[in-house]
Amino acid sequence: MNSKDIFNYLEIIEFQISKHKDEIEKLDQEIGDGDHIFNVLRGLKEANSLKEKNINEPVDKVFKQIGMKIMTTVGGSSGALFATLIIGMSKKYDNSLENLENISNMFSEGVEAMKIRGKSNVGEKTMLDVLIPVAIKLKEIKNEKKMNLVAEKIKKVAQEGMLSTKEMIATKGRASFLGERAKGHIDPGARSSQLAIEAICNELIKLEENL
């Protein structure tokens, strides 16, 4: 996996999330302020705009560039958090993306940074209910060699995390202002994160199948 792949995945994520635009928009309208989908799409568009200039740059630089781009163009909670995730990941990059352990380390580093940035943890009805379990699972299966198995497992964890937010009361983010009223609604950030992860996983599965 190289920088070209990263941009490739970004495009796939953008495509998948766009397909669920209205659904995500509605989620943030119900328990937030309705801007989440626009923040996410703006971030993806801006990140993709780096492709031409950076496609041959080293992976860690590309991560950092994307993180900075998101940090300076998105705004809102998701802008701060996704930027923190990706900049965090860039810091742990260890010369290769072929090694799952490396990826797991990077991801964990990013998610840890998010927890600090958001002063939050699992169970607070946020995107972290997807990302933390994914980070844990990745660490758990870091020695797994079959990428399609990894992908299936991660996809499932992300899905469960996303769904788990439905019945939670939020204690972080805008939904926290709703108290009980937030119950019954999936967190928008959890949904967009899960869709992104699912998009990557599906792509990995497809690649394996084509081998």
Partner: protein, 330 residues
């Protein structure tokens, strides 16, 4: 969606540019990164006040940049917190030897982005977090309460103190103090329409209101049937007083804030209701301000803000101010 726009993508930059031209006598507008700052840097060192937040609450915050109030404001996308590079650029432009005070409404996006901005600036700095909205509960486990229309009062009074050459610590403490003395709560009659979305954020039927709404139209305490102005006033003011616990004969500033779509006629009527009720509770309204200051685009509805006044707050409320949206004695 019917709005004055050329292109949804450019709405902010075109609007900011117009704002800069319309108020070119007192401020400048920088685009990419976007921030609004005072035209003339004070010749004496002073704490530089920087605020900001999602756009769509105009005149907050850009309308409060000028002598006696903010040094700079960082507008984000509509209802999305600004990005850290905006805070950095604004800080570099307006810092004036006594440090930077960020004034941030308590929304997690704003908190995080301002923190990230603060992380990358070299100047001494600290932050006042405004959380005046009593509609939602403040518990140690949650994000706490939202920062809403009381922000303008914090910006005015701390802005005045900063003008005297007070230290960063003094400004920070005074900001926290004014925030603690301030409580707000509002009610929405209609939704607003985020330009990028092109349709209303939420739907309220013909006789429904959102009681305790946030300034982005996000839900508050409950959805209920519309009631008379007096009844709404009673429930709102009692909630605020419960929080502020004013003394007998307490002097207060009463601020009626319109969310954008409610005529002034109704806001003054609300003032009448509020003033009367406070009087009955032996609370004296000695300062007042009525108008659209912290809006949610075109949302109909409004909020009450009460600030318990002491000598210092009163003094710094009364001092001259010259901004686009708040101007007196100069």
């Amino acid at each position: 969606m019917k709005k004055f726009i050329n292109n949804v993508e450019n709405i902010l930059s075109e609007s900011l540019s117009g704002f800069g031209k319309a108020h070119a006598d007192i401020l400048n507008v920088s685009l990419s990164p976007d921030f609004i700052y005072r035209k003339n840097k004070s010749s004496k060192p002073k704490v530089a006040l920087i605020s900001g937040g999602g756009s769509g609450h105009e005149p907050l915050h850009g309308g409060f940049v000028g002598t006696g109030m903010l040094d700079a404001a960082c507008p984000g996308q509509v209802f999305s917190a600004p990005t850290p590079d905006q805070m950095e650029a604004a800080a570099n432009k307006v810092h004036n030897d006594k440090g930077i005070l960020f004034i941030v409404k308590n929304y997690s996006g704003d908190i995080m982005n301002f923190e990230m901005g603060a992380d990358i600036i070299d100047h001494e700095h600290t932050t006042v977090i405004v959380n005046d909205d009593v509609a939602v509960e403040d518990s140690t486990f949650t994000t706490g309460r939202r920062g809403v229309a009381g922000t303008m009062i914090v910006e005015k009074t701390v802005g005045s103190l900063a003008e005297t050459g007070a230290s960063l610590e003094e400004c920070k403490n005074f900001g926290d103090h004014v925030n603690k003395m301030t409580g707000s709560m509002g009610v929405a009659f209609t939704s607003c329409t985020v330009p990028a979305a092109g349709k209303p954020t939420f739907e309220l039927s013909g006789d429904e209101i959102e009681f305790g709404v946030g300034i982005h139209g996000e839900p508050g305490r409950k959805r209920e049937k519309i009631r008379s102005a007096n009844e709404l006033t009673k429930d709102i003011i009692e909630s605020i007083l419960e929080d502020l616990k004013p003394d007998n004969n307490q002097e207060v500033l009463l601020h009626i804030n319109g969310f954008g779509g409610t005529p002034l006629m109704e806001l003054y009527l609300l003032f009448e209701c509020g003033q009367k009720l406070l009087e009955k509770n032996n609370i004296k309204v000695t300062r007042s301000i009525v108008g659209n200051f912290t809006t949610s685009l075109e949302m109909a509805g409004g909020s009450f803000t009460i600030t318990k006044l002491d000598e210092k707050i009163t003094k710094h409320w009364d001092t001259p101010v010259h901004t686009a949206a708040l101007r007196w004695k100069m």
